[in-house]
Amino acid sequence: MENLIALLVAAPLLGAAVLLCGGRRLDAVGHWIGVLMSTASFVFAVILFADLLGKDAEHRTLMQHLWTWIPVESFQADVTFRLDQLSITFVLLITGVGSLIHLYSVGYMEHDERRRRFFGYLNLFLAAMLLLVIADNYLLLYVGWEGVGLASYLLIGFWQHKPSAATAAKKAFLVNRVGDMGLSIAIMLMFTTFGTFAFGPVFSHAGDASEGKLTAIALMLLLAACGKSAQVPLQSWLGDAMEGPTPVSALIHAATMVTAGVYLIVRSASIFNGAPDAQTAVTVVGAVTLLFGAIVGCAKDDIKKALAGSTMSQIGYMVLAAGLGPIGYVFAIMHLVTHGFFKAGLFLGAGSVMHGMNDEVDMRKYGGLRKYMPITFITFGLGYLAIIGFPFLSGFYSKDKIIEAAFAKGGTEGWILGTCALVGAAITAFYMTRVMLMTFFGEERWKNQPTRSPEAPSAEPAAEHRGEHAEPHPHESPKVMTIPMIVLAFGSVFAGGFFGIGDRFLHWLEPVTGHSEGDSPLSAGAVTGATMVCLVIGVGIAYAMYGRRPVPSVAPRGSLLTRAARRDLLQDDFNHVVLVRGGEHLTRSLVYVDHTLVDGVVNGTAASVGGLSGRMRRLQNGFARSYAVSMFGGAAILVAATLLMRAV
């Protein structure tokens, strides 16, 4: 049974290899190969899951050792896979949602002549992501970690001929690299501390290490998580990442990859448990990000960017939960899974909307679409309800738990975090309602106006070869796209209940992550009530602003905060001024230094030597007699030397 684990990765990897090396011959069937491979690995995952269910809770861990990777003295890196409750949860999520999105892309990318390559990249991503979650040591995890970075680079920049896309891709990769630096330093620290970086020994001996070391490692891991999961201060790439095709945004930048950070933290639970300061840092990052993302989400008119903001904020919730320690780990993962469902659903819905609207992304040019694309409307609506935490839908269970846990942290800290979480919930309700209203309700603002405004930031060029330049006539998407949306909607409705009721999920994960009930100052009921209140407030305000009055099809100037939020709260501008400009100046001056100083010294010496020899040349005047003089002088000196020698 263990041997199946390798196949999880192997299948999509093979698919990627075939699709990317296959050449144009495979253009016709390429996408189906991709779908096949991802589904295959989903099937394997299910089989393994069944097998794990068969075992009793303590022994639900499968290990597979493939080969020794890097053996240098005490530095032993193996290619070993570890499949326990945590991994399998992720594996199922990744392969399941992944397969659905593969299917969806078949329809979505239908008109792109580079569809084969697109599926190749998708498969590559699946392989890397799976490797990330089933790796048994941090170095192997690092491989997957960078692998998904590469895949996201390729997919964000899929429409490379758009400079904006290429730039966004590069930005994403670079920001991630900063995070990766954290991860690699963390690995080095582990090696110096424990002499290994394999999960087993590290976790079992985490207690023996000094707290300082543990804190350092934990903080480095946090840095890595920030990079991958778009947490403040490394969140700036996620917004631009929306340049990629929508399925990519759904799979990578909503459901799976961006949650890798949370996985890392939960996986390293035993390290974080030993470093309370680091945990505080984690919670702070989480809290800040969940507010930051939410605020940004409120201001965006680009539907995908609004959703991106929401993703940021939701992951903020997860990180917050993960930072709470044993109280929160389980709920972090639980929210992660449910979020995987409904956020993927929302993105696919958004994609379907754009599909019908000639890739218009500006919500101000939507409106009243519910009767044109009913299925999209319903699935999107369900996802919406789930995310705002409408009672008895997925989000309700997972988010509610997190808020409870935040309070359960106890002390002022608990209060602060809890309040943040509550406020976040309110804002979530607000901006999601806003998206909903602007897209599906209100009057039809797309009527009698030229299609896609040129300034639409992330207009997808698929339209160019669809050749539509008349007024958009919205239509429902083909089955191949709607089916995945329906499945995901189903998930986003029932997953939470399935996990939450009777703490099924809790019992499932507890052996890996451990769990402890904090002492909550508020009863569970009180928290739920508070959440509901926030929810109602958020929705109410949104309805007042966008449901009652007609939405202007050109964005009003808005308050200072709004304008700041539209620009990601000026975080990019900061980066640009400080890092980009500064870097440019630095490199330019260095080039100058290299040319004038380092090189100049050498050339200067050469020149002086040349001048000297030019003068020496004069001595060779060609007169035999002056040569004779020097000769004679030499003889004299020789005599003098001999005499001196004698004298000495």
């Binding site: 080969w67 240098v72 170095l139 424990f194 001996h205 630095l586 090189d599």
Partner: protein, 524 residues
């Protein structure tokens, strides 16, 4: 007396060089094929060496020893340890690709150009360089090594000065002047280094009384040969300076960008992937074994210099406008990593450094040769002249992307393994330096991706719109390299198994042990 395998490996290309040069001018193609076959035969020999070498056997194997200059105790002594074997294999492996990639680089130019390009000479010189590099990897006699370490410069000088890019943005005249400038600069830098080393070699003879590496190292080890501290330090500096010039270490690096910029891509690969390795290799073999104490004494300074090279090279690479210069500065940064690994004095660091030499050879070869193909298509080295290539030449772009990723050492590709080993090895002993070194990873991503983005992506420039994709010959050159990159990235064990014992004994020479972890997590 068994068959002198090492001598054969070095002599075969030498003979091949002479034969190639002797081919009459009219039979140009014949010369090319001859050179290619010879290089392949050399590769076969190198592989036999690899097979015959027993990692767990003695330190130096396949040794040969004959008296040469009795009066000075100079002997013709050859012998290989794991490190040398790996590098010989690398050299023998790369040369055929270099020859194949430079297939048309030395064809006579279209009529009207005044430049005379002797095709035979080009390939003969390349083979000559191969012979000298291989023998300097094999030599265990300091004097013997020195001779070939210096002689290498002659063919390299002609390769750089004689054969430039076919097309040059500033026209033929400017090209030739810049070429000769670069060639002379290369020569002078290395000659100065060599001169200082010569003094040190003589000094060593005065102190030790012979040139045999093994004897001296043994004498040093069992204390029968005592050196005054100052003497040892001076000698060490003499050797190290030469090697630091050859493997450009900041601030002795400025010859490399000029040389690589002006020479054709294959020659550039020859410089950075093959010839420069002799420098780093020699640090590992001679500096550490002959002068262990002095090496330890100099370690802090050298590490700082290496660190500067890493960051400095990367930053300058970001600032370049010329593709080849960019690659050159990237190499400087990588050499910084290698030297850092060597002087970290940990088994991870030194194994990593050795691995790094091999991997850097392969990855740079792939990247630079692809850049060369790109340049030969458009006839310009300026990054600004390209754009949107991936639209017209997807295979070229794809392979180039892989080369780029290898350069920024993406996990799963060979360079990652070595780079990480070097960093870990450094970190275990000098955490601060290790951490600053990791910044190099981010910068690497920056310059590599900037190059890829500016040349390959974006809207298609009219000049490149007609660019043909990779031809069969070029694909033959690139594909094996890429396969190798992936293989060594996933399964580097074969190489590490060969290298580790050698590194272990080197470390024992300098009396250094790996630092112990704080917690004994793994049961020994």
């Amino acid at each position: 007396m068994s068959f002198p395998l090492l001598t054969a490996t070095a002599v075969l290309p030498a003979i091949g060089a002479i034969a190639t040069a002797a081919v009459p001018a009219a039979r140009r193609t014949a010369a090319k094929w001859l050179a290619l076959t010879v290089s392949l035969a050399t590769l076969a020999l190198a592989i036999t060496v690899l097979v015959r070498f027993d990692p767990d056997g003695g330190r130096y194997q396949l040794t040969e020893s004959h008296a040469w200059i009795k009066d000075f105790g100079v002997r013709y002594e050859l012998g290989v340890d794991g490190i040398a074997v790996a590098l010989i294999a690398l050299t023998a492996l790369l040369i055929p690709f270099i020859i194949l990639a430079g297939w048309h680089d030395a064809d006579p130019l279209e009529t009207g150009s005044r430049r005379w390009r002797p095709t035979q000479g080009f390939f003969a010189l390349i083979l000559g360089v191969e012979a000298m590099v291989i023998i300097s990897f094999e030599a265990t006699d300091v004097f013997l090594f020195y001779i070939f370490f210096e002689a290498m410069l002659i063919p390299m000088y002609f390769l750089i000065g004689g054969f430039g890019d076919r097309a040059h943005e500033h026209g033929e005249e400017a090209a030739s002047t810049q070429r000769s400038y670069a060639a002379v600069k290369f020569l002078l830098y290395n000659l100065v280094g060599g001169l200082i080393m010569l003094a040190a070699v003589i000094g060593l003879y005065v102190v030790a009384g012979n040139f045999s590496l093994q004897e001296i190292a043994q004498a040093r080890a069992n204390g029968s040969l005592h050196m005054a501290t100052s003497t040892e330090r001076w000698l060490f500096l003499g050797f190290f300076f030469a090697f630091a010039v050859k493997a450009p270490l900041w601030p002795l690096h400025t010859w490399l960008p000029n040389a690589m910029q002006e020479s054709t891509a294959p020659v550039a690969v020859l410089i950075t992937a093959v010839v420069d390795k002799v420098g780093t290799f020699a640090m590992l073999r001679f500096c550490l074994q002959l002068f262990p104490e002095a090496s330890k004494w100099a370690t802090p300074v050298i590490l700082v210099l290496a660190l500067i090279s890493i960051v400095y090279g990367a930053l300058l690479a970001v600032g370049q406008r010329d593709i080849k210069r960019l690659v050159a500065y990237a190499s400087i940064s990588h050499f910084g990593f290698i030297i850092m690994g060597i002087f970290a004095m940990t088994s991870q660091g030194q194994s990593g450094a050795t691995l790094y030499m091999v991997n850097h050879g392969i990855s740079t070869a792939a990247w630079m040769l692809l850049a060369g193909f790109l340049i030969s298509r458009r006839g310009s080295r300026l990054i600004a002249d390209y754009g949107g290539v991936q639209k017209v030449a997807p295979v070229l772009a794809g392979t180039f992307l892989i080369g780029t990723l290898a350069t920024l050492s993406l996990p799963g590709l060979a360079p990652f393994v070595s780079e990480f080993l070097v960093l870990v090895g450094t970190f275990t002993r000098y955490p601060a330096i290790g951490i600053i070194g990791t910044f190099g990873i981010v910068l690497a991503a920056l310059y590599a991706l900037v190059l890829y983005q500016r040349t390959m992506t974006g809207p298609v420039k009219p000049e490149v719109s007609a660019m043909p994709d990779l031809r069969a010959r070029e694909l033959v050159v690139v594909a094996p390299l890429i396969v190798l990159l992936v293989f060594l990235g996933v399964y580097p064990k074969p190489v590490t198994d060969i290298v580790n014992p050698a590194v272990k004994s080197t470390l024992s020479d300098v009396h250094k042990k790996d630092p112990k972890p704080e917690v004994e997590a793994v049961a020994k």
